[in-house]
């Protein structure tokens, strides 16, 4: 039940309209960060307020919502956000990727391929991919306007010069539709290929920084690289200790005082489906 003191989905209608207009402009200019009048939410900044505002502006009673953090449905913040929407938006929730119409995520893209009609909402801490190279918003805005991305190329090249490879593991920058360099949010680079020409709509919300951006379905998303140093994703020698998957992103756990390691799927729904449905493990 929605609390009568608050509007449906918490935000007032005027705020929703403002966010909805920003979302449409974000879809029209893929990868460009649209400034929006972000509101204080009842959860702290940095804990998903951007994603929550985007979800609150799009969600309706017909939706089925899935919320994940680190790929898992049962991490505390995912539970907290899912509980929030179940309460304020009277919405059905699920842990199943294939059943969800809206998936709000922090730090992962589900392993189960997404389909047309699904919306993936990313929580974004720092939306500006150039921020760690140039702290000034006025500067980075100009760099995007001029499509002047040399500073990023130099940074990646320096990494190769020092380490022999691009040493960025997560939040690995991408080029969207050949025009804007975009932060995919702090997902592991393992997930970057899933963003490319995805049939689902990707919406990115940064609450504290007050930016919304989007990647429409079937839009080219290229991870930055060099001809002689092509983009590559993480691999493990181990497989998931629970479902045996060799294809999924693995979390590492330290299981005893001697520092023994164990690897399990980060995507809990994917892992559970493989364990309960043998055919899914094919």
């Amino acid at each position: 039940m929605a609390d009568d003191a608050y509007n449906y989905a918490y935000l007032d209608e005027q705020t929703k309209r403002m966010i909805r207009r920003a979302i449409l402009k974000a879809v029209a200019v893929p990868g460009y960060q649209v400034p929006f009048g972000g509101r204080e939410m009842p959860l702290p900044y940095g804990w998903g307020t951007g994603g929550i505002q985007v979800t609150a502006a799009i969600i309706g009673r017909d939706d089925t919502l899935k919320v994940i953090d680190q790929g898992a449905d049962d991490t505390t913040n995912a539970v907290s956000i899912r509980r929030f929407f179940a309460k304020v938006a009277e919405v059905a929730t699920t842990t199943r990727t294939d059943e969800a119409t809206v998936i709000q995520t922090r730090h992962r893209v589900p392993e189960t391929p997404l389909r047309e009609g699904q919306i993936l909402v990313f929580q974004v801490p720092i939306p500006e991919p150039l921020r760690m190279l140039e702290p000034r918003e006025t500067e980075t805005r100009t760099l995007h306007a001029l499509s002047e991305y040399g500073v990023m190329q130099v940074s990646l090249y320096e990494s190769i010069a020092r380490h022999g490879r691009i040493s960025k593991g997560y939040n690995y920058p991408v080029m969207v539709n050949g025009r804007y360099i975009m932060s995919p949010s702090p997902i592991p680079k393992f997930d970057n290929p899933k963003l490319d020409r995805s049939p689902a709509l990707q919406l990115y919300g940064a609450g504290r920084e007050k930016r919304i951006y989007a990647v429409p379905p079937y839009t080219p998303v290229k991870s930055l690289d060099f001809d002689d140093h092509p983009f590559e994703i993480e691999t493990w020698e181990q497989c998931c200790a629970l479902c045996g998957s060799k294809e999924s992103f693995l979390d590492e756990m330290i299981v005893d005082d001697d520092g023994k390691h164990l690897f399990v799927c980060s995507d809990t729904d994917y892992c559970e489906r493989r364990r309960t449905l043998p055919e899914a493990a094919e």
Binding site: K16, R17, L24, K25, Y32, P35, L201
Partner: protein
């Protein structure tokens, strides 16, 4: 506000019956259309509105326009009942200068459809206007191939009633990317979106 003209509430067409939920459903239809250009989306919750423009055009405005978004009306739609409807239900200011508009409602025959609207800037391309172009039909016109973000390969779209040089103008708008206006074609209770990112083969 209404410059001496009193809105007659007895003749005013009704707005959204269930504002929060209708607007949410309408927005999702609009979002679906915008993220998949060329796809014709029907708006189940659209109220009839003042007659012309179509239910789809007025539903689009009821969903997205408010006191922060000035609306420009082409001559064909600049009538008291349309103005009253938008002022009363959306609270949107009606402007006569194209450059001030966030949303504009055009007829398919409106001359120089792109002229004078805000195109955004390289630093803030999101500040450009959205044009709602009312057409007789979203189907049955000359077929054009659309391609770009949101389209898997190509989409064959046959919007009817557009002027000969409309697509040349669109090509010019598309080359301004990331600047440029976005378009929503509307007819009856259906709409089809054409964001600036989409190229249309002439």
């Amino acid at each position: 506000m209404s410059n001496g003209h009193m809105t007659d509430l007895r003749t005013l067409a009704p707005g959204l019956a269930d504002p929060a939920h209708d607007a949410q459903q309408l927005f999702r239809a609009v979002l679906d259309a915008t993220s998949r250009p060329g796809r014709i989306v029907s708006l189940p919750a659209a109220p009839a509105g003042p007659g012309t423009p179509s239910a789809a055009a007025t539903a689009y405005l009821l969903t997205l326009a408010d006191r922060d978004t000035p609306v420009w009306l082409a001559d064909a739609f600049d009538r008291p009942e349309v103005r009253d409807f938008l002022r009363f239900h959306a609270g949107a200011p009606i402007v006569t200068k194209r450059a001030e508009a966030v949303f504009a409602v055009l007829a398919s025959a409106t001359p120089q459809p792109f002229e004078g609207f805000n195109l955004g800037s390289d630093a803030y391309p999101d500040r450009s206007a959205t044009l709602i172009v009312e057409v007789p039909d979203l189907r049955g016109g000359p077929t054009r191939q659309w391609h770009g973000p949101g389209i898997d390969g190509r989409a064959a779209v046959a919007v009817a009633g557009l002027a000969e040089d409309f697509w040349q103008d669109w090509a010019a708008n598309h080359t301004l990317f990331p600047c440029g206006v976005d378009i929503v074609f509307t007819a009856r209770t259906e709409l089809c979106a054409l964001p600036r990112s989409v190229a249309v083969e002439v």
